[in-house]
Symmetry: C2
Subunit: 404 residues, 2 copies
């Protein structure tokens, strides 16, 4: 067989597989309680709604089986524009493009914006898929630390100043302002305003990724950054993966119309169009009037799982371990004493205590985070959460005692 | 609003929208007979089969609604590997990855293989979507002319020699060996062998795109180039868009396992996974045992449309116009006298004779082809084909007479 290496493009060197994905393989063994996978709960998919939609899918036309427009079905784009407008960010169908989940939105944005070596600001820690998309286009990632109110704007302002003094200008920042992956934290209103100010001052774009925003556990929603943007600086990403189904592969972005036109041209050469079948299903789900109630039931379910996990953490975790208290979404973030390496600890957790998690290192762009852990409560069976946390605390306790 | 241009990457300059797409807008007016759109016939989608599949989709599990593996559902990859093996190209599930139609396969291949300025050989004329994918990664396209037996290997050999003398080495050639888009021609067995020899001699890869191969009108199929490849030099692309539905967005590629692993990593950052719903539907369609009979009915239908179009061309076209006689697929290719500009002629065809086609220029990489036309018989209503060709012949006749 041929040696393939000589055929590869330069960018292949910057491509990374996800640690999380490798971790999944370990968690499939029987008896393991896994907090690793951050997928939506499979048992909560609205099967009845899907069955209902399937029955009327071909009543009007067969367009769901044909190629569709590259930018997505017009009717769906209109619905999404109306929704975002109602949420305070006025926009038209022309500023919307449908993508294969938000991940493709990230890919297309990087394709249109990033030259090799361009700087991109990211939250540290941040979503691995975004880091991969940026890496695929050889962007240079600059991590900005976050605290319980999201991005540390003070650190960011200093960093931007330093960068500017070296002639370095970031193209954009990537942020997940609501119930962030992996930490669960929400960017405060004040900081949203401050972030937009910094973006204006240093002239970069903002990617506001909001896959979890509708899965709030009760707090009033904080307005999107996009609602404060009157010049098309914010690219807003939405998705049906967490509120309906990831399998239909329907995400979307709202942005400056000129940018949406460029992204549409890029998408044409990328995959012609997203799945019309998926788009038709989403449109029918919106028209059914049943999606709101479904999302409400998801909120209740995920909140219960979060509560169970927080309670177990309080009950079992030893001193020296801290964690976030998310107001929505799928994730809790643990910080252990700095001497514990969570990646090295994982095989022991799995084999000795039969509990799995994702080590935080993969969410960091600078090799740090080795003492952090992402726990997903989204897929955990409710009866398993307490026991899983108890097991995890045993693994951690052991390491703390050894160190003492 | 912001001026966006300053944020764009270099590669945006090489991105092109498709002429075909713009042409579609013109063809939507009532009364127009259009041979422009090369989509599958909407009225032939197997609705009953889809309804049947929907009914059993959630009987075993809900995996069709969840995220799936980046490389695609294992069961589907096994089926496709078995199919390709039966067709004479032995391969395993590990050498298969599922993509959002073949267009995404092209995108991912370019992502993994092409640095800006890398050379790529393409048939001239060739599929616009492939030219766009290569353009998105700033590949340099070298057009190799084709005749009624496909690629002119003599011209290609000379070109490769010249290029080598200048130190230029193509990364790959892109070919559609069966019922090519846009010409309908098929690459002969002898030339398939010769092409592989040239690829070995000059050490480049072959992308063998085969979306129309199963829509043969009676001839024995010519073996895939992949069947002659014992070193993983050929990347074979398959698709369910033309034989089941483009809306489910399921294409696939078979290649060297090492390359498939790299493409999988690239896809992870591109869109995480293709639609599991689409993949489940395709898998069910394969298991139903009804897909073979459906494809047979498509062959009969498309052959009838081709026959009607060929007959009308013979009956109405003036001297000086020539065309291909495809043995399968969707397209016939017309060559008019060299002084006729088919792009300039199109608005007259539409407004004066109410007939639409695609000008051949967009399929050429060097600005030639202005006297060529692609006619799609795939979507034309059978009752309209004769009349449409009669109208087109009138537009052409007028221009020939004026020139005389």
């Amino acid at each position: 067989m041929l040696q393939m290496e000589r055929f590869y493009a330069q960018r292949v060197k910057d491509m990374r597989g996800s640690d999380i994905r490798d971790a999944f393989k370990l968690t499939e063994e029987p008896g393991i309680i896994s907090f690793a996978g951050g997928f939506p709960a499979q048992e909560a998919f609205p099967i009845d709604l899907f069955q209902e939609i399937f029955q009327r899918l071909f009543q009007e036309d067969y367009a769901g089986l044909q190629y569709g427009p590259t930018e997505g079905l017009e009717a769906l784009r209109r619905e999404l524009a109306a929704q975002l407008t109602a949420e305070g960010a006025p926009c038209s169908a022309e500023s919307i493009i449908i993508t294969n989940g938000s991940q493709q939105a990230l890919d297309l944005i990087c394709k249109v914006l990033l030259d090799p070596g361009d700087y991109v600001l990211v939250e540290q820690p941040s979503y691995v898929g975004a880091l991969n998309a940026i890496g695929n286009y050889q962007g240079k990632k600059i991590g900005i630390p976050i605290d319980e109110c999201g991005l540390r704007l003070d650190v960011m302002a200093n960093r931007l100043k330093e960068m500017a003094s070296r002639g370095q200008h970031p193209k954009f920042i990537y942020t997940i302002p609501n119930f962030q992956n992996p930490t669960g934290v929400t960017l405060s209103l004040e900081r949203r305003r401050g972030l937009l100010e910094l973006a204006k001052q240093y002239d970069f774009l903002i990617i506001e990724d909001n896959p979890y925003g509708e899965l709030s556990f009760g707090q009033e929603p904080v307005p999107h950054i996009k609602t404060m943007d009157n010049e098309g600086r914010v690219i807003y990403l939405g998705s049906f993966s967490k509120i309906l189904s990831p399998g239909v592969r329907v995400g979307w972005l709202a942005a400056h119309e000129a940018l949406v036109r460029k992204i549409t041209v890029a998408k044409q050469g990328t995959d012609l169009c997203s799945t019309t079948l998926g788009m038709k299903i989403v449109l029918e789900a919106l028209h059914s009037g049943k999606l709101r109630a479904h999302i409400e039931s998801l909120r209740i379910m995920y909140r219960r799982r979060r509560d169970l996990m927080l309670r177990a953490l309080s009950a079992y975790m030893p001193e020296g371990v801290t964690w976030t208290r998310p107001e929505g979404g799928f994730f809790i973030w643990l910080t252990l004493p700095s001497y514990i390496d969570t990646k090295a600890m994982l095989p022991f957790a799995i084999t000795e205590q039969k509990v799995a998690y994702v080590s935080g290192t993969g969410f960091h762009v600078d090799g740090t985070g080795q003492n952090t852990i992402r726990l997903a409560f989204s897929q955990a069976a409710e009866g398993d959460i307490e026991e899983g946390i108890r097991r995890l605390s045993r693994v951690i306790r052991e390491r703390i005692e050894v160190a003492m």
